[in-house]
Symmetry: C2
Subunit: 747 residues, 2 copies
């Protein structure tokens, strides 16, 4: 009995064991709401921010220094063996080993070079036929870094029309459209047959040449004036300081459009159709060549004619006169240009390195820098090449530790940027169908460090917030600034360059076409940022002093600009933080409300400038203002939805991200800007008269340019009306892409 009782309890224990085990399993499996599968959970949370910390630590200044030394040890102009073989292979191998994969994209494109055995020069052609005051054919060697490199090209302007021309000299200040118009309209100076001497700066040099030709000049001489490139030059120029010496010459292209001039709109791949050079925009209308200020003064001091007004006076010890012609005894002498620049088809290469995204491999965060330099390129572009290589190495270290981003990251090393953004343009033309649907953003660093005062940046408004927030995360490379309480890159940036609409935010400019972001923005409609560490705004320089000269050496950078490479390191880190954020956050860090605010400010500017004139012609911006209100509301709602979305629903998250990403595409008009159809962004495009600068509402700005002096007022104002209507429509259209897709309103 006892035994039975005991047995029965034993049985109870066994039964309980079995029954409750099964019951437990059932409860465990079905009674408790199931956890999400781990891959789904991972997909719905932001990447671990400790990896960003890790990345920043991994980026080492001494490595960047080593990289820069390597890149600048010889000249590496586009199309040269060092540039297209040695450096291409170096980067390819680095990325192949650090990243998931790498690939080289070759393009056969039209490049331009000076004739080594018959260099370009400027001279005074005396009445007796002899030449005097011949300009230097080579840049004087000032530092051992420059020496014994036969691959250094002598000063020239790429794609200049070759030829020998003579004419009376005129001084045209910076050669802007306003400068030329002033000379002709206000001063009635006949520029036909003259040779224009213009100082570099303010605008893109190709536009100076275009203006000169349009106003009848037969040739152009470009020089760097001390007022713009050697502000305190009297005692300290290179090699003593970073200011441009009188023997330094700025090289540079005068190509009027971006990309290979023989294959406009299409990539220069093997199957490409190449236009004849005569059918293309592959040479300037008139010969042009650059000189240094030691040479320029020889011609300027002989120019006759009225004294230029005070704003046109440069920094040379001479009274700047306008011409045309020389003073006695040179009255019958002519200024002569000897240009032997030639064009040639050569191969250029982009190198692309790739980190595969874990969850969204078909979303690309793209960052890039060009590789080619006019000479050694220690600032432009190798300061950024050195930084980007270190950044890619640091990302490689994270990969080794098992890290993998949510989205893919694409590193780009562009060829032939200096000749006219050729490598990046051909690549975007080739891959536009892929980039147009998959690229999240393009982050460009042409020059990492051109000064050590502050960050500066330009970009599309949807990236403002990301850039501002990222700059707050990067330690200030300047110990003095830290000591003054400005601990981050952001703080110094804000102190130097506050925006004009919010004193708590640093200024971010608009994008023209000064670097490789152009094709991404204008062809692909991809959000873009361009940034550098730069010199003080108070100098009012157009470029850093040594820009495109043979004095852009490792010595210059390592001794006079960034000892210790902390500024380079800061830029690499900033680029790293932005890349990480775009690649790792579940909800894309693109801010559409900033776009709305920017549009509002832009329209206010237009109203301020043109309000009374518009009223006179029965035009108002009410439609645009209304469209912007709708845009603003849609942007706010979209961001509201990103805050309430169920992050574990991948399709809902993707839908919102697509809307955030596609907004920029909505500003692309396939017809392009009226008269300049190769630019397609209706809100921002390079300026009509300065492709380096940016134009807000470019179609409208073009239509309004000098409108009051056009005899055909009716036609011009009709065009203005049309442009206002295009802007209104494109803003409505962009707003509609941000609306909810759940009801017909979203259509």
């Amino acid at each position: 009995m006892v035994s039975w009782k005991m047995m029965s309890w034993k049985l109870v224990a066994v039964v309980c064991t079995v029954v409750f085990l099964v019951l437990g399993i059932l409860i465990g499996k079905f009674g408790i709401p199931p956890d999400l599968p781990s891959w789904l959970r991972e997909m719905s949370i932001d990447g671990d921010s400790s990896f960003t910390e890790r990345l920043m630590k991994e980026i080492r200044a001494d490595n960047i220094e080593k990289n820069l030394k390597y890149f600048t040890q010889k000249a590496h102009i586009a199309g040269s063996p060092r540039e297209e073989e040695e450096l291409v292979n170096y980067i390819f191998n680095e990325w192949k080993s650090h990243l998931d994969s790498a690939r080289i994209y070759p393009y056969s494109v039209l490049l331009s070079y000076p004739n080594a055995s018959d260099p370009n020069y400027v001279a005074v052609q005396l009445e007796n036929g002899t030449e005097a005051d011949m300009s230097a054919k080579v840049e004087k060697i000032l530092n051992p870094d420059q020496e014994e490199d036969p691959t250094v090209v002598n000063p020239f302007n790429a794609y200049s029309l070759p030829g020998t021309v003579m004419g009376d000299p005129v001084y045209v200040n910076y050669g802007t459209i306003e400068d030329f118009t002033y000379m002709k309209r206000n001063l009635s100076i006949d520029l036909n047959g003259t040779i224009a001497i213009a100082r570099y700066g303010k605008i893109y040099r190709a536009d100076k040449v275009k203006h000169a030709a349009e106003f009848g000049c037969v040739g152009m001489v470009l020089y760097s004036d001390p007022a713009d490139y050697a502000v305190d030059s009297e005692v300290r120029v290179y090699p003593d300081d970073w200011w441009l010496p009188g023997t330094g010459v700025q090289r540079g292209t005068v190509l009027p459009r971006d990309g290979d001039p023989l294959t406009p709109y299409y990539p220069s791949i093997e199957s490409a159709f190449y236009q004849k050079e005569s059918d293309s925009f592959s040479v300037s209308a008139i010969p042009v060549t650059p000189i240094g200020y030691d040479d320029a003064i020889k011609y300027l001091r002989k120019i006759s004619g009225p004294e230029a007004n005070s704003t046109w006076q440069g920094g040379l010890n001479v009274t700047y006169r306008l011409g045309p012609g020389f003073i006695p005894p040179y009255s019958n002498s002519k200024l002569k240009l000897h240009v032997r620049t030639y064009n040639e088809r050569r191969m250029t290469h982009n190198v692309i390195g790739y980190i595969r995204g874990e969850h969204e491999p078909d979303r690309y965060v793209v960052l890039g820098n060009h590789r080619d330099a006019w000479v050694f390129g220690a600032v432009d572009p190798s300061s950024a090449s050195a930084a980007m290589m270190e950044l890619s190495r640091a990302f490689g270290e994270l990969l080794k530790d098992g890290w993998r981003p949510r989205r893919s990251i694409v590193f780009c090393s562009w060829g032939a940027e200096e000749h006219g953004l050729i490598g990046s343009t051909e690549w975007v033309e080739e891959l536009v169908k892929i980039l147009g649907t998959r690229a999240v953003a393009y982050l460009n660093v042409d020059i990492a460090v051109e000064g050590n005062t502050t960050l500066m940046a330009s970009g599309t408004p949807n990236l403002y917030k990301l850039l501002h927030e990222s700059a707050k995360k990067v330690e200030n490379p300047n110990p003095d600034e830290i000591a003054n309480g400005r601990k981050t890159v952001f703080d110094t940036w804000l102190a130097n360059d506050p925006s004009d609409y919010d004193p708590t935010l640093p200024h971010i400019g608009e994008l023209g076409s000064a670097s490789d972001y152009t094709a991404f923005l204008q062809i692909g409609g991809i959000p873009c940022i361009d940034m550098s560490y730069t010199y003080s705004k108070t100098y009012k320089l157009s470029d850093y002093p040594m820009y495109h000269s043979a004095y852009e050496t490792f010595d210059l950078v390592s001794r006079l600009m960034d000892r210790g490479f902390k500024y380079h390191q800061a830029v690499a880190r900033l680029l790293g933080v932005m890349t990480m954020t775009l690649a790792e956050k579940v909800i894309l860090d693109l801010d559409c409300t900033q776009y709305a605010n920017k549009l509002e400010r832009m329209v206010k500017d237009i109203q301020t400038h043109y309000g009374p004139l518009f009223e006179k012609h029965g035009i108002n911006m009410d439609g645009v203002v209304k469209a912007i209100q709708e845009f603003k509301e849609a942007a706010r709602n979209l961001h509201g939805r990103t805050e309430t979305v169920e992050l574990t629903n991948p399709l809902e998250v993707r839908r919102l991200n697509d809307q955030l990403m596609d907004l920029e595409r909505a500003f692309i008009d396939p017809l392009g800007i009226s008269g300049r159809p190769w630019y397609r962004h209706v809100i921002f495009a390079p300026s009509l008269h300065d492709a380096y600068g940016s134009s807000s509402f470019p179609g409208l700005t073009d239509a309004l340019f000098d409108i009051e002096n056009d005899p055909d007022q009716a036609r011009r104002w009709e065009q203005v009306k049309k442009e206002v209507s295009v802007i209104t429509f494109i803003i409505y259209s962009a707003a509609s892409t941000m609306k909810g897709v759940n009801d017909i309103g979203g259509l």
Copy 2:
């Protein structure tokens, strides 16, 4: 001891209960791989096919008949109150009640009408200044359905240049470019100052007018020849049979381009900029008016000049002569055209109805039909309007039962199609940024039933398979065919119209610009299908006989074409099956390999036609062939991935679907076809000399047209080379979008 033992077993039982319950719960929860959340599971399986069965059953022939009766009870030309108010509101209210939501899109556009108080006519102007043989100004009433409707517009060609012109008549057959070229080049007939009489058919009428103007004619008369519209007309024409009687006249537009002529490229929304009419393509170059064959014979029998060759002889009891001029005693008489057609800005409206997708609301399956008719429109377009309304009602019934598709479904009722695809073009222009990224496909049914012999269809190759498979699922509406073993729509279609490349597949044509799919394909790059039930191919008709006449009545359709409305029902069902499949399958039913095969056949055609000529000019298609091989491989791989993809991974599925969907976009070149930039699809576009027809590789075909007779051979062959290069690039580019995104190869 015993008691302790017993107690201990009791304790064991309790402990077991607790321990194993907990253990069980832990095992249940963590030891067994968790089930997917139900929403995720639902997201990863195709929609239940029983709903498709249900949908088919729900579509009732008698409802379609009722719908048709309603739509055709009065005339409803674009811009008329009945069309733009009554029918718009009717459809809007239907969709608002059956579907999730509906919306009306209004556009203010330029339309065209005949002058009711001063009708157009043709006459013989006698030497004495009087008019003889005046053509009928109105179409004779043959059936009560036509009567007492003051809104019937008299015969006219929309957008004709108004005016009165006189000249010697010439007979130009169909007025194709070949016809005109033959008259001028082979027969040396001087067409300057003549009035061309052309028969309708073969090509788009606007192209006939364009050719006439280009060859010097000052006016054009269009008529329907019995050889084309009353093939066995001797005894049986309407109202006895469906053949065109001699009093019937085909209306139709002669607008040379699609969309509102005053707002090319942009939508005619409130903020639109309207060109001046004089700056636009809003009227034909010469006056034109249509007549019936009872009138045409009066002029044709008086024409002098050489006898037309046998292929030019029509079906009237007269010897067709070419002219120019009349035979005696009319030698000094002239043919006279009196055209008072005028253009006017009016409102037109699209109605859009919407079913929200459950998992992918941002992917739209779009189907549409136009609403406006030249007169009653019982065939064109109301046969399809009646079918689409019934289809939308049937979908509404499913919604009531709790069904909801994976993707969204969008129903479109277009305005002003007849005038020039205006409603659909303005809508796509307005919403291109949304449709370009989200529309899966556009399914067009302009005419549901224009005959009762067989289905016919045109479309983009990625929809071939879907259309073929869907047609297999729809019961044959013809009992005789079923009795002959052809149980489905597919079987009869195959028997009547096999493709020339596979005897097991019916033919699907290429898309020109004959209906509202044009903007979807040419602007949006969206896969498209157009389909109808049609008459026998053996008749070799260009159109169904009553096309655009006042005899397109409910009587015609219900008594002579589709008694019982079974053919209408079959088309509605087919459209329903296709819509269901595109909306419900996890993997999009778009077949890229069919595109590859089609491209291969197209290139073979080009090689067959032009091979020797190409060889002579050093051109070959090897590059294109290579690109197609790469395309084919990429398509195969992409479909391979769709077969192995983990369907429960929503982002991976979406990635593949995006690739399937975006392929069509890759064929869009924003520059457009050379010389016709408003068409942007590089593979298919309307023909240069017949916008209703389609041209394969249109840029190349244009470049090759009549090339051997061009004096500037060098220029022309350079253009051919350029076109070959564009085709090669676009195919490579399209192939690249299909490659894996997981490695750099995908870039």
